[in-house]
């Protein structure tokens, strides 16, 4: 008991001394991304007509995980490379956006009944065209930071966004636009929003010990051009 009595103050003092440091190191950044209507339409390639039926209400486009928030700037910036699976099924990729570290391998699995010709158009050195037969997997390593759009030549709506970054602070936006980035170090950072195959928003944030609660309103006019590297 004497021993515990002696150790308790020391332990308590140490915790008290480390508490500010620990509190300053991490915070939670959460918020909501409000996308403009054109980014929530659910269609990338429109035809001549898109009219609502007059019988039942039109449902909103399901979130396919293609809107991602990435926080750049806070230390440490190390995202360990790991294999990330992407399944193509029902003529769509799931998830349609992946964030990986440098050197990570993305595994594309074709679960459709048709073949898909996947490549990064214009950058055969990153990912050359290759036919992915039904039921097969293609493993592709992404070694250089950047954003890549992997497309299917036969079905252009099948697009997988691969964001290669060293930042471990990223999150997919849910159907309501919410996201949460835990354990973000305190300090200035840059928050970027990726949606529909391009960066659609970028802003500076100050991460405090209490974290940050953000409402990110993406302007339609501010949408950037598609980013391809």
């Amino acid at each position: 008991m004497m021993r515990y009595r002696l150790l308790s103050p020391l332990l308590l003092g140490g915790l008290v001394a480390l508490a500010p440091t620990l509190a300053a190191a991490v915070g939670v950044v959460r918020g909501t991304v409000v996308l403009p209507e054109e980014l929530k339409a659910g269609r990338r390639f429109l035809g001549h007509w898109r009219v609502e039926n007059t019988t039942v209400p039109v449902q909103a486009a399901p979130a396919r995980g293609d809107t991602v928030v990435v926080l750049l700037g806070p230390k440490p910036q190390v995202l360990a490379p790991k294999n990330t699976p992407v399944e193509i099924v029902g003529m769509q990729a799931n998830p349609s956006t992946v964030v990986v570290g440098e050197g990570a391998v993305v595994e594309f699995r074709n679960s459709d009944k048709v073949a898909h010709d996947l490549s990064v158009p214009g950058h055969p050195e990153i990912m050359p065209p290759e036919r992915l037969s039904p039921g097969t997997v293609r493993k592709q390593r992404f070694g250089i930071s950047g954003e890549y759009l992997v497309r299917c030549a036969e079905y252009p709506h099948v697009v997988i966004s691969v964001i290669v970054t060293s930042s471990p602070f990223f999150a997919a936006v849910d159907e309501k636009g919410g996201f949460k980035l835990p354990d973000v170090p305190e300090g200035p950072a840059t928050l970027k929003v990726w949606s529909n195959g391009r960066w659609v928003h970028e802003q500076s944030v100050e991460v405090t010990p209490k974290g940050a609660d953000l409402t990110i309103k993406v302007s339609g006019a501010a949408n950037k051009e598609p980013t391809e590297q």
Partner: protein
């Protein structure tokens, strides 16, 4: 000739302007035609886009109507709820679709697909009819239909282009969506032919780097995808290209390319409207395309053209007649008059330009042949017989007289005949005709008794001095008779004296010794009856040299009689004087063909 030249220049300029207009004038017309063709293609492209849009709406409505079929609704509802056997549902739906669309190929439908609420294929008609169960929910048009939208798209897969329309299928109670019906319409040869009929232009459909179908031979459109690719940015910005030129074999095509909408736009799918360009409008092509109707009286200005041509020809002929033929005729008449001795010379002031020059040349030639001495070089050292003969030419400098016949003195040719024969002869410089080059005889000493040379000088003064003597010569010959003539009056004579055709050279005065030939002598020195003057001494000297040379050449000297020799020399001298109007002649001996010969040299001063 001045007006004729001006006229020729004007005609040439007019022809140049006409040729220039013929080649240049079609260019703006070509550009205008190309512009109009481009506008026509613009309108055709707009019409094609509207037709695509109307077609899309028609097919959307078509599948929406199919989706209201109760059998389909019930089957898709069952599939969505997971009720029922999938294969049985597949057969039911497929049969129903076939019943609803009996003439599928006739209306251009490639396939009909019915999907349930989850996007799974329940049945399809057309392509892959036996397959079902796979999900198409990821296809945007299908996903849209399952959310309640009626929409269209264009798919480019497996090297084919298909326009797609989809509509939701609602439950019988109209409360929820139980599936969707998708129609895929052929977008190839059939569409191209239809557009060609409706728009009046050729159509090609391009997918990526391939021409999917065309109303033109596709093998000739190999360059088309590349050409469109070069204008991809323009198409992305303006949704079409401006009119482009494509060479299809020997033909020149004007085209406009526009993208298909939907997913196919990402796959570089374009429809291209082409129109054959009219051939280039250079004059030859224009003429080859002219029809007989274009040359009808009412369409072609025959009368003004004929009048213009005749007027041009008439003016040209008139000017020719006035400025060329008339003066030539007059000149010819004058030359004839000159030949008939009716006039002394041609009035060259009446003729301008080159005809005036010709008239002056004729005058100068007549003058020259009346008074001139032939140039030295032509007859130097020729036989005197050839020189004195009319056919020969002589310069009057040195002539071989030893074997010459004593021909009678030939009078100077009639100037008129000379003029007639020389009409059209090469032009001579005026100085040649008017002032023949005097013969230079520096070795001849001045006659010792000036009085004996007076008659010769008198002849020269009458006929030759103004023309043949240079001021220096006049100054240098300081004889008594020459001194009587004013040098200034000889030098400064502004024009040649009138031709004295009627004056024949007076007989050359000879001394008394020459008047009577010396008696015949045989190798004797100067005889007593030989002339005492310079000529006699000269003749004697020539005689002696000649005899010596004959002996030297191995010829007989005894056959030469001195008196005959002297008479021959005198005769030849007189002939030379008469022919060349010189003062005297000097003789010298030389060897010709191994025999002794004598040559004569006229003395002018």
């Amino acid at each position: 000739m001045f007006l004729s030249k001006i006229w020729f220049i004007l005609v040439a300029l007019l022809a140049g302007v006409a040729v220039t207009a013929a080649f240049v004038a079609p260019r703006p017309a070509d550009r205008r035609i190309e512009q109009l063709e481009g506008q026509r293609l613009d309108r055709a492209q707009y019409a094609a886009e509207q037709m695509l849009k109307n077609d899309a709406r028609r097919w959307i409505d078509y599948v929406a109507k199919l989706g209201r079929d109760s059998h389909l609704t019930e089957a898709l509802d069952s599939s969505s709820r997971g009720a029922g056997e999938p294969k049985a549902l597949h057969e039911t739906v497929r049969s129903r679709l076939k019943a609803l669309v009996p003439d599928r190929a006739g209306i251009g439908v490639e396939s009909l697909i019915a999907v349930d609420k989850q996007g799974r294929v329940v049945a399809r008609v057309g392509d892959d009819e036996g397959e079902y169960g796979e999900s198409l929910a990821g296809a945007e048009v299908v996903g849209d239909a399952l959310r309640g939208y009626l929409s269209d798209d264009v798919w480019g897969a497996a090297g084919r282009l298909r326009r797609v329309g989809a509509a939701p299928v609602t439950s019988k109670s109209r409360e929820r969506i139980v599936g969707a019906v998708v129609v895929a319409v052929e977008t190839g040869k059939r569409l191209a032919e239809m557009w060609k009929q409706n728009l009046g232009v050729d159509v090609a459909i391009v997918l990526g780097r391939n021409v999917v179908s065309s109303t033109l031979p596709e093998a000739l459109l190999g360059q088309l995808p590349e050409l469109i690719e070069q204008h991809a940015t323009e198409i992305a910005n303006h949704k079409r290209t401006r009119p482009l030129i494509l060479y299809m074999g020997a033909e020149r095509m004007l085209l406009i390319a526009a993208p298909f909408v939907g997913e196919a736009s990402e796959q570089r799918a374009y429809y291209v409207l082409l129109n054959k360009q009219p051939p280039g409008s250079d004059p030859w092509v224009l003429l080859s395309n002219a029809s007989s109707d274009d040359l009808r009286w009412g369409h072609f200005p025959w009368l003004p053209l004929a009048f213009g041509i005749l007027a041009m020809i008439g003016i040209g002929l008139l000017l020719q007649r006035t400025e060329v033929e008339g003066p030539i005729r007059r000149l010819r008449t004058e030359v004839h008059s000159l030949a008939r001795n009716e006039i002394q010379k041609i009035d060259d002031t009446k003729y301008g330009g080159k005809l005036g020059g010709v008239a002056r040349d004729i005058n100068a030639t007549v003058e020259r042949f009346t008074h001139a001495v032939p140039p030295k070089s032509e007859t130097a050292k020729k036989d005197i017989g050839a020189i004195l003969d009319r056919g020969g030419s002589a310069d009057g400098q040195s002539f071989d007289v030893s074997r010459a016949k004593a021909t009678p003195s030939t009078p100077v040719s009639n100037p008129a005949s000379v003029a007639a024969s020389l009409f059209g002869a090469p032009k001579l410089p005026p100085s040649m005709g008017v002032t023949p080059t005097p013969i230079s005889v520096p070795s001849i000493p001045a006659p010792s008794p000036p009085a004996k040379a007076a008659p010769v000088a008198s002849v020269n003064r009458t006929l030759m001095l103004p023309n043949l003597r240079s001021p220096a010569e006049v100054t240098s010959s300081n004889s008594g008779e020459f001194a009587a003539v004013s040098p200034s009056s000889l030098i400064e004579a502004p024009s040649p004296p009138p031709l004295r055709r009627d004056v024949t050279p007076p007989p050359v005065p000879t001394s008394a010794a020459f008047a009577t030939p010396p008696p015949s002598v045989r190798l004797s020195p100067v005889a007593a009856n030989q002339p005492k003057d310079e000529d006699s001494v000269h003749f004697q000297q020539v005689f002696e040299e000649y005899i010596a040379l004959r002996i030297k050449c191995g010829e007989s000297a005894s056959s030469v009689a001195a008196d005959k020799f002297f008479a021959k020399l005198r005769s030849n001298r007189e002939q030379l004087i008469a022919k060349y109007n010189c003062r005297s002649a000097r003789f010298s001996v030389y060897v010709k063909d191994g025999k002794a010969a004598i040559k004569a040299t006229p003395v002018r001063s």
